[in-house]
């Protein structure tokens, strides 16, 4: 019989754990994994591997959700560029990052001023820019949605697999008990006949 600690240890030495992005916290990943593992009724190495994959799915969903917003920012930066507002300082990446801070509400004063200047030159309001950006990026935002949907599908499959493994281990235990009972009965019959 595997304990949770044994299972985690044995599977961790064999299967490489999911890789995290440089800005992601290993501690947060482990804490979310432990939370899921604690819900396992009968931990086994396979169950632990499947739950780790489930946790990885959750992290991918998070990343894709962030990417959806970033796609919108890139698209908005492109619109501002098309309006010829920053040819001299052309850098989509910088404008995209400034927009990210602007919409998240944590842009510096300089960045805020820059975005406002760009909007003024392009003769656009923030909401106009957002609507146009969304329209242009719709196809690619749908791709990010597809990626999120794939992770949800994967999670459904994983849940079914975890159930199947759990059911299988219960079935094995029941069969073991039945076999033990049959053996005991057989021994009892042997003892009676002798």
């Amino acid at each position: 019989m595997f304990t949770l600690k044994d299972s985690v240890k044995s599977i961790a030495t064999l299967l490489p754990s999911p890789r995290l992005l440089p800005n992601e916290s290993e501690a947060e990943f482990q804490s979310s994994l432990q939370g899921l593992l604690s819900e396992l009724e009968k931990p086994s190495p396979l169950n632990v591997a499947l739950v780790t994959q489930l946790n990885e799915c959750l992290w991918w969903i998070e990343r894709h959700t962030v990417d959806k917003e970033l796609l919108l920012h890139e698209s908005m930066a492109k619109i501002l560029c098309r309006a010829d507002t920053y040819r001299d300082v052309y850098d989509n990446h910088l404008v995209s990052a400034a927009l990210e801070g602007f919409f998240a509400g944590n842009a510096s004063k300089k960045e805020k001023q820059w975005v406002n200047d760009l909007l003024k030159e392009a003769k656009l309001t923030v909401s106009d820019l957002r609507v146009r950006g969304f329209k242009d990026a719709a196809k690619h935002i749908k791709m990010a949605d597809d990626l999120i949907h794939r992770q949800y599908q994967t999670m459904r499959h994983l849940q079914k697999s975890i159930d199947a493994v759990d059911f299988k281990s219960r079935l094995i235990k029941r069969m073991d008990l039945e076999l033990a009972t049959l053996e005991n009965n057989a021994l009892a019959i042997d003892a009676k006949s002798s």
Partner: protein, 169 residues
């Protein structure tokens, strides 16, 4: 670092190349379009990890056949997700030079490099075309989204393979 006219000229000449001649060059260029490598068959069964995983699953009560299937499917899934990660972390780089250049402003450079007016026009058209292509590819987030979208079918395949292996009657 080569000068801007030199870089432009090198890029143009590279387009006229008929490809590598030596075996080593051909081998190197055969890997050019390789993005994630998931279409290449991998023999998991000869790896030590596979053997250990199979043993661990057998100890869990799976038959040798099922343990082998599950071990392969787990390693296959890990490989697909690693490809997802690699594509995410290092998308095809944005060609800043190409995006940043103004074809119109570069005409004097082209004229300096080429004597025939037709050649100058060809070169301008070539760079305008490359620039449009580069702009269509978008920024790093768009690139990584498009590239990872292509991996969906590999992930779907890996999942169904794993589910089949685990829920095998």
């Amino acid at each position: 670092m080569p000068s801007r006219p030199k870089t432009l000229s090198n890029r143009r000449n590279a387009q006229r190349s008929t490809g590598p001649k030596s075996d080593l060059g051909k081998l190197a260029s055969s890997r050019n379009s390789r993005k994630h490598g998931l279409n290449i068959q991998v023999d998991f069964e000869s790896s030590d990890v596979y053997a250990s995983l199979k043993l661990l699953l057998s100890e869990e009560g799976f038959s040798p056949f099922m343990a082998a299937d599950i071990a392969t499917s787990l390693l296959h899934y890990r490989r697909v997700m690693d490809a997802h990660y690699d594509t995410y972390i290092s998308p095809e780089p944005v060609d800043e030079l190409m995006i940043d250049m103004s074809v119109k402003d570069s005409m004097p450079i082209f004229r300096e490099m080429l004597s025939e007016p037709d050649d100058v026009r060809d070169m301008a058209a070539f760079f305008a075309n490359m620039q449009r292509k580069e702009q269509r590819n978008g920024g790093p987030v768009l690139r990584r989204t498009v590239d990872r979208h292509k991996l969906i079918r590999h992930q779907r395949h890996a999942i169904s393979r794993r589910s089949e292996a685990i829920r095998h009657p």
